[in-house]
Symmetry: C2
Subunit: 402 residues, 2 copies
């Protein structure tokens, strides 16, 4: 069931250990599900309970620790020896008395790691304040170090196999955008368009199946299009409204996000005016992107393009993207924004989403791209423009279907 060959996993592990050595970390506790998957192959919806992958700098194999009933999934999805899969009993789950970190700390002591330098992913969703407190209590002789994003930075440059998976995710994203936006008409409920999009994202193509995206499809419509992270409702689309559709195709946990703005009928004057400005800025960034320059330079390209039209944007324009689990498909490393001095390298992958939100409307037209040897390449091939729809659904004779 492994998605990559063993050489690739070993390569990831050795890069991780190198960063551990540079940071003076002997033992790394990996709680980010994407990092767990990256290093071991582990893939299950079990991150709602405490679990981790333990990398010991002088041991060949990582150790998986998690809930008893999930050990079976760990055996099936990872390359680890069975003896390195150590489950905790079920009474540790969501208990007011026991905490999984008590168990994990005890095991770490038993295997002689209790007095070492231990790295923890301090700002990861799945490493809570209490997890850290209990771990510190359990390991009083350990020295804890912040290893947040240590593995995420190893993930920044993708392998060819990862790029191949992202290309498949891109096909799924394109298809979901086509078939999803096809359903958007006046009178259709937001949830029905969301269902059509979800169907395509999950069924994938005839050649490869889709995986669940780390963020649900977002499609705020009408006045809600000024609020980027609202999810769908039972509300019906209306003629003249705009709908923002942000989705990601996902293949083997690798994401390619794509956003477009749909106008149901004739776009408002404001939307007509702003669209070419956003597209021009987007193109400027894609024309600028190449190895050797920085994320900061990409942001400057967009800012200068926008400045000609007297518009400013404060929020970041994009972020590194790839392997992930809910609640975010972004990798939390490089951001396309002012001051980010990450130097671009071939096979870095980004979602560029220079969205603009105003008081009662917004626009999103995005591209996911990879840095190539001498420029960049968009993952998806979808018209980089507003999608203008006939407001009504029509039968084959052109009659309106109500």
């Amino acid at each position: 069931m492994l998605s990559f060959d063993m050489i690739e996993y070993q390569n990831r592990l050795s890069k991780t250990k190198q960063r551990m050595a540079e940071s003076g970390i002997d033992v790394l506790l990996v709680t980010d599900p994407a990092n767990m998957n990256y290093l071991s192959g582990y893939d299950a919806w079990s991150f709602y309970v405490h679990q981790m992958l333990i990398i010991i700098i002088d041991e060949d194999q990582p150790i998986w620790m998690g809930r008893y009933q999930d050990a079976s999934g760990a055996k099936k999805t990872t390359w680890l020896y069975e003896e390195n899969i150590i489950p905790y009993p079920d009474y540790y789950v969501q208990s007011s008395v026991y905490h999984p970190m008590d168990f994990i700390g005890e095991i770490l002591k038993q295997i002689g790691q209790g007095n070492r330098y231990i790295g923890v992913e301090m700002d990861n969703y799945y490493f809570t304040a209490k997890a850290f407190e209990r771990l510190k209590q359990s390991l009083p002789n350990a020295t804890f170090k912040d290893a947040d994003l240590l593995v995420n930075y190893v993930r920044l440059v993708k392998s060819d196999q990862e790029i191949d998976y992202m290309k498949r995710a891109a096909k799924i994203a394109e298809q979901a955008m086509y078939k999803g936006t096809e359903t958007i008409h006046a009178g259709v409920r937001e949830c029905d368009a969301a269902a059509a999009i979800y169907y395509q994202l999950v069924t994938g193509t005839a050649d490869y199946g889709g995986d669940y995206p780390a963020i649900v499809p977002l499609l705020p419509s009408g006045e809600n299009s000024s609020a980027p992270h609202l999810t769908w409702s039972e509300r019906k689309f209306k003629e003249g409204e705009a709908v923002i559709v942000e989705l990601a195709g996902c293949y083997k946990r690798y994401h390619v996000p794509l956003a477009r703005t749909v106008s149901i009928g004739k776009p408002s004057r404001k939307l007509q005016e702003i669209t070419p400005i956003v597209v021009e800025g987007l193109n400027e960034v894609l024309d600028t992107a190449r190895p050797g320059i920085t994320c900061n330079d990409l942001e400057a390209a967009f800012r200068n393009s926008l400045k000609k039209h007297g518009i400013q944007k404060e929020a970041r324009l994009g972020y590194s993207v790839g392997l992930n689990y809910p609640p975010d498909w972004g990798e939390h490393t490089a951001s396309i924004r002012m001051g980010d001095q990450t130097v671009l390298q071939p096979n870095m992958t980004f979602h560029l989403i220079p969205a603009l939100w105003f008081d009662n409307y917004g626009i999103e037209i995005s591209e996911s791209f990879r840095i190539t040897e001498n420029g960049c390449e968009a993952f998806t091939n979808f018209p980089r423009d507003l999608i203008i729809k006939d407001p009504f659904q029509r039968n084959q004779h052109g009659g309106i279907i109500s």
Copy 2:
């Protein structure tokens, strides 16, 4: 856009403040998205950045703090005055320099809360180890208290309106189970069945739209049915295999989970033998459930039923369920397990999932139910048995469609 009337929100807030007073907490920092929604109505996929709802014991209104671009969603979805919606600038997002908790701590000091007793949800996914560290640094004169699950326990007994939403979620769950399992045949890919299920979950019914469930549909098949939390793959179902389908209908963030086991063709002898045992145990629990007894008593009913057949189950049998966001639809309060002394009251709601997993197969048949005045009532109406399918998809004349 509010899902409940103001009296219900005020009632929730006053119960929360009462628990705060009992725990000696002046200021409660609510980071669990379900708790934020419960108290304020806030509903958006923005929990991948730091955000919170602040309840001050001697102030009428909570304060929402989150990312700048999400303030617009907070204005649209909550009952809060606009001046109580305080966004932080975008440069705080996923930055190696700035942290949103620095901003939030500073505001708390400015509004005179810097030296009070502050409750934090210590084991919530969205309150990371680093969030707590930065908050403590920012508020050196505050005294922090663990307020984990404080609001979750207020949520334990549902209102009639909440039960009504769960009944709608139940209809969605039933329909997704019918239409989803209809697609399961030998030769069909897991992802295609998952897509059919997802479509139904999101489109909902003609009367009300579906919302996204906090956990994706799980449908491990064949040998993978022994690993409960594996998600779908591109693998094709085979004749003679079992498929476990666990899903939840969701309406306005309220969940009703439902699990069934599907046999593609004639079930294995093991599955035939174990099914009536699980159903009998399930029925025993439902016959036992009533106000005044405890979760521990429910577990005992199941354990005694199983003991007759020489089978033991270690894992918990179920948990309180209702309002939630990814990554879990369980409420993390009452568990149906040995030693849980929660006394059942009318309108408590549970997902009873006495799953059994063996080395290379598993079975799940579950029911979500609410405690009534003198017993309990299942939310869904779906045959409480193995679903046995014709292994092949057939056309109207009975011919096999390959």
